[in-house]
């Protein structure tokens, strides 16, 4: 057994949150002091439809263990239809990742409104647990980028 194996696995998780609903939901989770794992790092985007598949693949390439995208609930998009496009794009992308053998649990889309601090915290909690159970992302990591 190497020394590395004894170390606790701390996953790297990127969360893309839309500015109007999910980022505000994360803020509400914060002001309600609803804790979730520090492994989650949030990137603010104007809308879930701003999330390019390139961003997700790049995160995996650079060693992320999981990527979650949060947006307004269908029907509530600030830009009326952005999350509908995001939903189709992400469904197809995730299906493709699953197809090439990447564990489907490493990617997730969740709709979180600005009022759903509890849901945000719970979702993040679940997602971290899922990634913990899947372990380190070895399939998609670009070895050059590992420290």
């Amino acid at each position: 057994m190497s020394i590395e194996a004894k170390e606790e696995f701390r996953p790297k998780i990127v969360a893309f949150c839309c500015n109007w609903c999910s980022y505000a939901g994360a803020d509400l989770a914060g002001s309600s002091r609803l804790s979730y794992s520090a492994d989650i790092k949030i990137i603010r985007v104007p809308c879930s439809c701003r999330v390019n598949p390139m961003f997700i693949l790049r995160a995996f390439e650079r060693g992320a263990d999981g990527v979650i995208i949060c947006g307004c609930h269908p029907g509530d998009c600030h830009y009326t239809s952005g999350n509908y496009y995001a939903r189709r794009r992400m469904t197809l992308l995730f299906s493709m990742l699953d197809y090439i053998g990447v564990e489907s649990g490493r990617t997730r889309v969740e709709w979180v409104s600005a009022a759903e601090g509890v849901k945000f915290s719970q979702t993040m909690h679940e997602f971290v647990e899922k990634i913990q159970s899947l372990g380190k992302n070895v399939r998609l990591e670009d070895l050059r980028c590992r420290k």
């Binding site: 995996f60 939903r87 995730f94 053998g101 564990e103 990591e141 670009d142």
Partner: protein, 324 residues
């Protein structure tokens, strides 16, 4: 073939078209290549036979910039690509004179070689007029035969049909060659375990040399500058260091053509490494058909593509995990 040549000469002579886009014989009996014909004498080299798999639609992007009309020969499946390009304003309908040519399935030299036929000198039965069921192949080692069907490109086994989607006139008869399920291969992979899937694609994609042939031949992959060549995503093309890079390239490539890919199969035909690239595109097509309703890119000019439209009750991305 003579009928095609005669008609092309006629249209050149009466000034309807300035040039003809077709296929000319290559240095071997089985590698004709796309070419322009501008004068009557150029047609000596013209061929149209079973090996003319090349989809000429993409060449029309450049031809649309030239002066005058270009006569282009399109097989039934090629017309989908042309129409999709038309939908995306990449080709000019007024600059094209389309002759829809008949097709009885195109041949794959790799399939013939795969049958153990080597040292090929000439091939008989690949001409378009023949109704030959078998190919007679002269080799260094004597005459060999093989069934026409066994030498067909994968895409012809899942042929989209005999109808030209767009044309000015039609010459020649087409034959229905579909005898396989278009999504059978995809389903096979879908049924694998994640480990098997990963191993399968790692094996296939590790062959990729990033020659970009798939990208260059693809009628949907017709960006002026590919994202993998620009600095917009810090993703400029470079030599592969590890297996993820090709995966990223091929996933993104397939994603960029998702909903626009007509499944013409050119990517797999031209890959020098024999990677079944169509499996990526077809996975997206299968998902689109299942989740958002049957859609065939290039079948019409009006309908919105599946990634530029939506329904209120579309499936949630979580369906990917549920379907497993």
């Amino acid at each position: 073939m003579q009928e095609i040549v005669n008609r092309a000469k006629e249209l050149l002579a009466d000034g309807t078209v300035k040039r003809v886009l077709g296929w000319k014989a290559g240095d071997l009996p089985y590698n004709p290549e796309p070419a322009y014909f501008e004068k009557e004498e150029d047609f000596e080299d013209f061929v149209y036979n079973g090996f003319c798999g090349a989809n000429l639609s993409k060449y029309m992007i450049e031809a649309s910039k030239l002066e005058g009309k270009t006569l282009v020969f399109l097989k039934p499946c090629d017309t989908y690509s042309f129409q999709q390009l038309l939908k995306e304003h990449r080709v000019d309908r007024d600059k094209a004179y389309i002759i829809g040519v008949g097709c009885k399935g195109k041949l794959d030299i790799e399939k013939i070689r795969g049958l153990g036929i080597k040292g090929i000198e000439s091939i008989e039965g690949a001409e378009i007029e023949d109704e030959a069921e078998t190919l007679k192949i002269q080799t260094f080692y004597g005459e060999k035969t093989c069934a026409y069907k066994d030498a067909m490109l994968e895409r012809c086994h899942v042929c989209k049909g005999k109808d030209h989607m767009i044309y000015d006139e039609q010459i020649g008869e087409s034959k229905e060659t579909k005898d396989a399920d278009r999504f059978a291969e995809v389903e096979k992979i879908e049924a694998m375990s994640p480990e098997e899937k990963f191993a399968f694609f790692q094996k296939e994609l590790s062959k990729c040399i990033r020659c970009n042939a798939c990208r260059n031949v693809c009628p949907a992959c017709s960006c002026r500058k590919c994202v993998f060549d620009s600095n917009k995503f810090d993703s400029s093309q470079k030599a592969n260091v590890d297996s993820f890079e090709e995966k990223m390239f091929h996933i993104i490539r397939a994603f960029h053509v998702a909903g626009r890919c007509t499944d013409c199969g050119e990517c797999s035909r031209v890959c020098p490494q024999g990677i079944p690239l169509h499996l990526f595109n077809r996975k997206f097509i299968k998902d689109i058909n299942e989740l958002y309703g049957e859609y065939q890119a290039g079948a019409d000019l009006e309908e919105r593509g599946p990634l530029t439209s939506y329904q209120f009750d579309d499936a949630e991305p979580g369906i990917v995990a549920e379907r497993r």
